[in-house]
């Protein structure tokens, strides 16, 4: 019997622990991520959100726990114990990582086109003309004028840099994209546009996302499901609307009530 693919999670995190010395950053965290789903992780600064994201992405070694990923080949890979070679290959092909600061995720000394083409070249694409065509398509997809293909990212505005970073990650059609505060540091109108774009791309390409944010507004717009973290622990998890409308945990109630409304 072949398992129904949409009935198995794309990613299962099981009992993940990560400490820095005596400081516990992530304590016993478990969750599933389903294909095409957007999971939001919210919580205040220092609650372990980014540590969790970096641990899932293999950027930090975990202390214990499993990160089970169902690869495109349909085999289950435990990223916590996978070899460097395997993990790095997955990260370049089936995964994407959008950094809070675009300059961490972009090659600032190289043009927009080179930034978009990098993953393809890493996979062995060696036809300049085709790389360029792909780059132009993606610039259009993320609403950057195609004639800026040869410009350096540092001549771009913050919002454009962030969109370029998204294009650069989506070019290999990843199945999971991790986003660390994708709209942090952008002004609200640019933020709104970027959120629209992310929502559209996520839907079009059927990509699963984990979005870390401290902004409940962003979480409400993007995420299907939310996890609330505090002191390295998940205090509450559930459907976004449900959780925001009827928060159960005292901390979530505090978080929701402290949102400024205009």
């Amino acid at each position: 019997m072949t398992p129904d693919l949409d009935q198995t999670p794309l990613l299962s995190v099981e009992a993940l622990n990560k400490s820095f010395g005596r400081h516990v950053a992530c304590h016993d965290i478990s969750f599933d991520l389903w294909p095409g789903e957007v999971l939001g992780i919210v919580g205040e600064s220092g609650s372990g959100k980014s540590t969790l994201l970096n641990a899932i992405a293999g950027r930090l070694p975990v202390d214990s726990g499993k990160i089970l990923y169902r690869a495109a080949s349909n085999s289950i890979v435990d990223l916590a114990s996978a070899s460097d070679a395997q993990r790095r290959h997955l990260m370049r092909t089936e995964w994407g990582f959008v950094q809070q600061h675009a300059r961490d995720g972009l090659r600032m000394g190289f043009s927009a086109g080179a930034n978009i083409g990098e993953r393809l070249m890493a996979l062995g694409d060696k036809h300049y003309g085709k790389l360029r065509d792909t780059a132009l398509d993606w610039l259009r997809a993320v609403e950057i004028a195609p004639e800026r293909i040869d410009d350096l990212p540092r001549t771009f505005s913050g919002g454009m840099q962030q969109r370029l970073q998204i294009a650069r990650n989506l070019v290999t059609r990843p199945r999971i994209v991790l986003m660390d505060e994708p709209t942090g540091g952008l002004d609200v109108s640019v933020q709104a546009r970027l959120l629209d774009l992310i929502r559209r791309l996520v839907q079009e390409h059927h990509v699963a996302c984990i979005v870390v944010t401290h902004d409940l507004g962003v979480a409400r717009l993007l995420a299907h499901r939310l996890m609330v973290m505090r002191h390295g622990q998940v205090v509450e998890a559930g459907l976004t609307d449900q959780l925001l409308d009827d928060p159960q945990h005292a901390y979530t109630q505090l978080l929701v009530s402290s949102v400024l409304s205009v």
């Binding site: 083409g117 993953r119 070249m121 060696k126 300049y128 293909i149 040869d150």
Partner: protein
């Protein structure tokens, strides 16, 4: 002083070839490892040499490790045998080893070079030693040494194409003109020291042993004889070498790397072979170029 070739003809108080025997053993071990893994950068304990870093300390240490009393040494700097760097290093080895030297590529058994590969094809049994300033091809793309080592280990070389892409995007062609990135033996990405890309194809399937020494960066790597060396390129922008609008003004060579020499302030210029030995040999054989007549006396010298 237990070896027969160490005669009193070398400078008193110094070991043969300047370095002590233990240091030479360490260097030879590194060289053997480098030869066994073509293109792989082998770390070694680089020593202080009596000239500054960047002037060829890496190449000199490799030369000192492999030189024997019967060797015939040739030293080139930018193709010429008579420039400061070449003269100084040759003089150093003559004082330290008393070996015979030559300017003829064919006669040399050991050639230390900076920035050029001789035009005359090398043969089996010859050793070409390159002076390398920066051995890591991924250095300007990835600043962390731990990361570049991992990239080498996992053959993650796609990022090198990003640089070539950028060349084409900005200049319309691959404008990397020297130190062209190559893939050695289908495995390791290598910098071939700052030789012009004109010389890059000469590394491929070369009959001679090619050793690369980087003194400041403490790395040795090698291309053994008859090893595949492939320059990186794009399918629709294949690797090409430089061309010149004229032939060599002295010997008429069409197949050698030419230097442009400015003659006056009215746009007058000439192109001459950068490899002085090759040019001289051709002139001795009767080849002439566009401007060779007024230079005949010098050429006949």
């Amino acid at each position: 002083m237990n070896q027969a070739y160490e005669t009193s003809a070398t400078l008193a108080g110094y070991n043969f070839a300047f370095l002590d025997e233990q240091t030479k053993r360490m260097l030879r071990r590194a060289i053997l490892k480098a030869v066994a893994i073509p293109g792989y950068q082998v770390p070694f304990g680089s020593r202080e040499m009596p000239l500054p870093y960047g002037w060829g300390t890496g190449g000199m240490q490799v030369t000192a490790a492999v030189i024997g009393a019967k060797d015939v040494l040739k030293v080139i700097d930018q193709g010429a045998d008579d420039t400061t760097n070449a003269v100084s290093i040759r003089h150093f080895f003559v004082r330290m080893t008393n070996v015979a030297t030559t300017e003829k590529t064919r006669e040399a058994t050991l050639i230390q070079t900076r920035h050029r590969v001789p035009e005359t094809p090398l043969s089996e049994g010859q050793i070409l030693v390159y002076q390398v300033p920066i051995p890591e091809p991924l250095r300007w793309l990835e600043p962390r040494e731990t990361e570049t080592r991992k990239m080498h280990a996992l053959s993650e070389y796609g990022v090198m194409h990003v640089k070539l892409y950028e060349d084409i995007a900005q200049h319309g062609h691959i404008s990397t003109a020297y130190d062209y990135p190559v893939l050695v033996n289908g495995r390791y990405l290598m910098r071939c020291s700052p030789i012009p890309k004109f010389d890059t194809p000469k590394l491929h399937m070369n009959a001679a042993l090619q050793l690369f020494g980087a003194g400041r960066e403490k790395r040795i790597y090698a291309v053994p004889p008859y090893t595949e060396v492939k320059p990186l390129d794009f399918e629709d922008h294949p690797f090409e070498v430089e061309r010149w609008p004229e032939d060599c003004a002295l010997c008429g060579a069409q197949d050698s790397f030419l230097d442009e020499v400015i003659l006056d302030d009215r746009g007058g210029r000439m192109f001459v072979c950068s490899d002085t030995d090759y040019c001289g040999e051709r002139r001795a054989a009767g080849h002439t170029g566009r401007m060779s007549a007024p230079y005949k006396e010098e050429a006949a010298e």
